[in-house]
């Protein structure tokens, strides 16, 4: 699949934002006064910024509000609802922390659950797609959730929790790669089943249907850069998991947090790029490509 920049930025930043907001909402960090203003503001900026970035890849963003209508069947629609609900629900909690209104924490807890649901919905947009076998399994929600919460914990300055969640994120990432590498074969789609001609013998492309490019080739049959997958995996694992842990545990508090965050972002972007670039859509079979 084509790794569109806007979608990579969206999933990483809004994941981090909602992960952080979940910790603020749950009261694991309880800033007050202007500190609260800036921390909540950062959470909102990341979450909303990410969501806005996602509209850049729409063909007709002016109709984006219609995306709220189909929550019964569509994970994209559910994500829109969960995101808005989380942001609205947490707003009073944010004001309360900032201005010392003393509203009950239960509002924040509910908001934290909604944040988690938002992250889950984002991951399900991909995990639901059977035509991309690498995505169509439970490792995707696990990896998205752990990565987002791990990043949130770094921002929330919760060293202990961050180390645990980052380790979980590393495990989920490794699971996703392992699962993903076998997924296409396990799904059972081949040029034989795609054309139905496999019963006769080995199917090969004789001539392509068009000599130029098209939407399918650009969007779903992205093969550039896959040969570096192994290197990118190492970068992702080192930067998104190992380095932040080391920074948090060994460096002095504030410096450690900043260094951990920087490493995390590099690693998260690498991981998300790979998530798209490595995913093979079964339509590639018609073109003899994967």
């Amino acid at each position: 699949m084509h790794p569109a920049r806007s979608v990579i930025i969206f999933t990483v930043l809004s994941g981090l934002g909602f992960g952080f907001l979940a910790f603020l909402g749950a009261g694991l960090v309880q800033p007050s006064g202007w500190a609260a203003f800036w921390l909540w503001g950062l959470g909102y900026a990341l979450a909303v910024g990410g969501l806005l970035s996602s509209t850049f890849h729409l063909g007709n963003p002016q109709r984006a509000l219609l995306a709220f209508t189909q929550w019964r069947s569509s994970w994209l629609s559910r994500e829109a609802w969960a995101a808005v609900a989380a942001l609205l629900c947490l707003a009073p909690m944010a004001l309360s922390d900032w201005l010392g209104l003393g509203l009950p924490r239960i509002i924040g807890l509910l908001g934290a659950v909604l944040c988690a649901l938002t992250i889950l919905s984002t991951s399900m947009i991909y995990a639901q797609i059977r035509a991309v076998p690498r995505w169509n399994n439970a490792s995707v929600p696990a990896a998205f959730m752990a990565l987002a919460l791990g990043g949130g914990a770094i921002l929330a300055d919760q060293t202990g929790l961050a180390v645990v969640l980052l380790a979980a994120s590393g495990a989920a990432m490794a699971w996703h790669w392992r699962q993903g590498d076998q997924a296409f074969a396990a799904a059972g789609s081949t040029m034989g089943t795609a054309t139905g001609l496999g019963d006769i013998g080995r199917v090969e492309v004789f001539e392509l249907p068009h000599t130029g490019g098209n939407y399918l080739l650009r969007e779903m049959i992205f093969v550039v850069g896959r040969k570096h997958a192994q290197k990118v995996r190492i970068i992702a694992m080192a930067c998104a998991v190992v380095l932040p842990m080391v920074c948090l545990l060994l460096l002095p508090p504030f410096v450690g947090l900043l260094a951990a965050l920087a490493a995390y972002l590099i690693g998260a972007f690498a991981q998300r790029w790979l998530f798209f670039a490595q995913a093979e859509h079964v339509v590639g079979l018609y073109y003899g490509k994967r």
């Binding site: 109709r63 189909q70 069947s73 947009i125 130029g212 098209n214």
Partner: protein, 250 residues
């Protein structure tokens, strides 16, 4: 609404005969021509006369070479099979359920899967969900395009009776494309599918396609690696034959 109907009154669709298709691309051209002036945004082209042309099509014709498995140690000749690919109007269409806006839908009355372009935000998720590459985003209009089963022809009373079928079916010079109600076991297309062993593409994707493909017929005599093989096995006679024998013994 992007929930799928439990049942449709009819299941209109195409039956494509891979035995008959000669790969002339007439259906591709007819489809593009009709859909440039009919339903929704016209199918646009980008840089059509330049060095890197690209465009939106609802129907594409692939050509495959199928190399038969060895039978008794003999390699039969490869077969060339032309393979038109368009929307299969699936009963369990994953492209419909993923759509966040309700733009993609499946009609209860005839099972046709359509896009309401006025509601489409161009997110592309439906194209990801389709295993068959049947949906292409129009680069000009920013909305999703797909085969409409020529819904603006088949019910169109302004057209002469014989033209009330999809443009691709109407135009196919070899009659390799058939249109009808695959939900009715007594329809011509259903009978054709039954008699020729029509099949679904990628059944493992669980989309339950309406369109069916008819496999190439079995060859009426054993294939050979080359039809010219008997002619190539030249037996020399006379003086040349004697020379051949003597030289062979040396």
């Amino acid at each position: 609404m992007t929930c799928l109907p439990a049942k449709t009154d009819k299941a209109l669709g195409l039956v494509i005969d891979l035995d008959t298709c000669v790969g002339c691309h007439a259906c591709v051209t007819a489809c593009k021509g009709w859909n440039d002036q009919g339903y929704g945004a016209p199918l646009s082209d980008q840089n059509p006369y330049g060095s890197d042309p690209s465009g939106t099509f609802l129907n594409r014709v692939h050509s495959y070479q199928v190399v038969p498995d060895l039978t008794g140690g003999v390699q039969a000749a490869a077969q060339i099979i032309n393979f038109p690919r368009s929307c299969l109007h699936c009963a369990d269409a994953p492209c419909v359920t993923v759509c966040p806006t309700g733009a993609s839908y499946k009609r209860v009355e005839d099972g046709i899967v359509l896009v309401n372009e006025d509601a489409c935000i161009g997110c592309g998720l439906c194209a990801w969900a389709c295993p068959y590459g049947a949906r292409e985003m129009d680069a000009d209009a920013g909305v999703m395009k797909k085969c409409t089963l020529c819904v603006d022809r088949i019910y169109n009373e302004n057209l002469p009776e014989e033209d009330r079928e999809p443009a691709c079916v109407r135009t196919c010079p070899t009659g390799a494309r058939h249109f009808g109600d695959l939900g009715d076991p007594d329809s011509d297309v259903s009978k054709l599918v039954a008699s020729r062993g029509g099949y679904d593409l990628m059944p493992e994707q669980a989309t339950r396609p309406t369109n069916k493909y008819l496999p190439p017929r079995k060859k009426d005599r054993p294939d050979q690696a080359s039809l010219l093989a008997p002619l190539l096995d030249i037996q020399a006679t006379g003086f040349a034959g004697w020379l051949d024998k003597v030289l062979g013994k040396l």
